[in-house]
């Protein structure tokens, strides 16, 4: 996402608390990355992939992990009352991220940062019409087990919105038919899922 796509402004942040490896709880502030910073994260990921002789592209383990790591380094700030541009990053460099966090903690911060990024994006993060929503539901329901489902390639914001709408409609449908959730669970037992 480029800076021009950001709707809420480049100062939008999100608080996130997480345990360090020794269990110490810390609270940090995540910020949006602009286009230049996102490019930096990709450049780092490409360099790491080439260094380890792996594919320098999204979907490949080394590239994805490296991009997540660098994004966490760039986006994580110490928590304070002062404007974010006057504060220091929480980690002094990307190697400190590697030394002090494990994959789960990096994934947690990376996903939280991505959610923030998506919540501020002008890109589509909800279905444009009811027809489009229903088509996607039918497509998911009629795929064979193991086949790729449409939502697997959607942006996080769109996925969240779609699942939220789906859950709301299921609940409304259960209420309308006076079916309790336990009845529904009983009916669901034995059905295959992906």
């Amino acid at each position: 996402m480029k800076l021009r796509d950001i709707k809420r402004g480049s100062r939008a942040t999100r608080l996130e608390s997480f345990p360090l490896l020794d269990g110490t709880e810390v609270e940090v502030e995540l910020k949006l990355l602009d286009g230049g910073e996102q490019d930096e994260a990709k450049e780092y990921a490409v360099a790491e992939a080439l260094r380890t002789k792996t594919e320098p592209a999204e979907g490949h383990l080394v590239f994805d992990e490296a991009r997540a790591r660098f994004t966490v380094y760039l986006a994580t700030y110490e928590r304070a009352e002062t404007p974010i541009e006057q504060r220091s990053r929480f980690f002094s460099d990307v190697n400190e991220v590697r030394r002090e966090l494990d994959g789960d903690r990096i994934a947690l911060l990376f996903e939280a940062q991505e959610a923030l990024q998506m919540s501020c994006a002008a890109r589509k993060n909800h279905m444009q019409s009811d027809t489009e929503f229903m088509q996607s539901v039918i497509e998911c329901a009629t795929k064979e087990v193991g086949e790729e489902l449409p939502f697997e390639r959607w942006q996080r914001g769109l996925r969240r919105s779609w699942v939220h709408t789906l859950a709301n409609r299921l609940l409304a449908s259960l209420s309308a038919n006076s079916i309790s959730s336990s009845d529904f669970e009983e009916r669901a037992v034995g059905t295959s899922t992906n």
């Binding site: 490896l21 020794d22 110490e78 929480f90 002094s92 400190e96 030394r99 002090e100 494990d102």
Partner: protein, 185 residues
């Protein structure tokens, strides 16, 4: 506060996140100093960097030992070395998580001192520590707890499992009960 600012406090001597007790049978009979009493070993989580180093070390060993000709042997050597390398960094003194239990050449020391069952016991304890402490591990909901209680009460919990899986679930439940007992106020 940045990580640098909290680092001194962070580096204070800290007890291990978890302590496991290995019975003498977990140590190799060929080891001259095989203990005669149970040994307590602390565990800590390893960093992304340590995991990367462990992967690199495992890949190197796997290729050196088996080369192009034995892909299955290479996979087994990789997995065994990876587990030992991670445990080398994860096993610490129970009272001080900055001191490695097996010392600096820990990987080869583990191979020399422990039986394969001993390594497995430590690995399972380490995996459990990850589940217990990972911010990504999902927590059981009240509804799921209720459903579990019902399934235990009416006996359906175990009857739908194969005998081997029943033993796994019984171990996990035993661990959960022990944890509840040890943490109850």
């Amino acid at each position: 506060m940045s990580f640098r600012a909290i680092a001194p406090k962070h580096a204070e001597r800290r007890a291990a996140a978890k302590v496991v007790t290995l019975q003498p049978s977990a140590f190799a009979e060929s080891w001259a100093k095989r203990p005669t009493m149970p040994v307590q070993i602390g565990l800590r989580l390893v960093s992304d960097e340590a995991l990367d180093n462990a992967r690199a070390s495992a890949a190197q060993v796997a290729w050196e030992v088996h080369g192009e000709q034995a892909p299955q042997g290479r996979v087994e050597a990789y997995n065994e070395t990876l587990i030992r390398s991670i445990l080398a960094q994860a096993c610490v003194k129970p009272s001080d998580s900055s001191v490695l239990h097996f010392g600096s050449a820990a990987e080869s020391v583990i191979a020399m001192q422990l039986t394969s069952d001993g390594v497995l016991a430590l690995w399972e304890a380490y995996e459990l520590l990850k589940v217990e402490t990972s911010p990504l591990s999902p927590e059981v909901t009240d509804g799921q707890l209720q459903a579990l209680a019902t399934a235990i009460a009416d006996g359906s919990l175990m009857t739908r499992l194969h005998a081997r899986d029943q033993r796994v679930i019984r171990r996990i439940l035993r661990h959960a009960i022990d944890e509840v007992d040890s943490r109850a106020t």
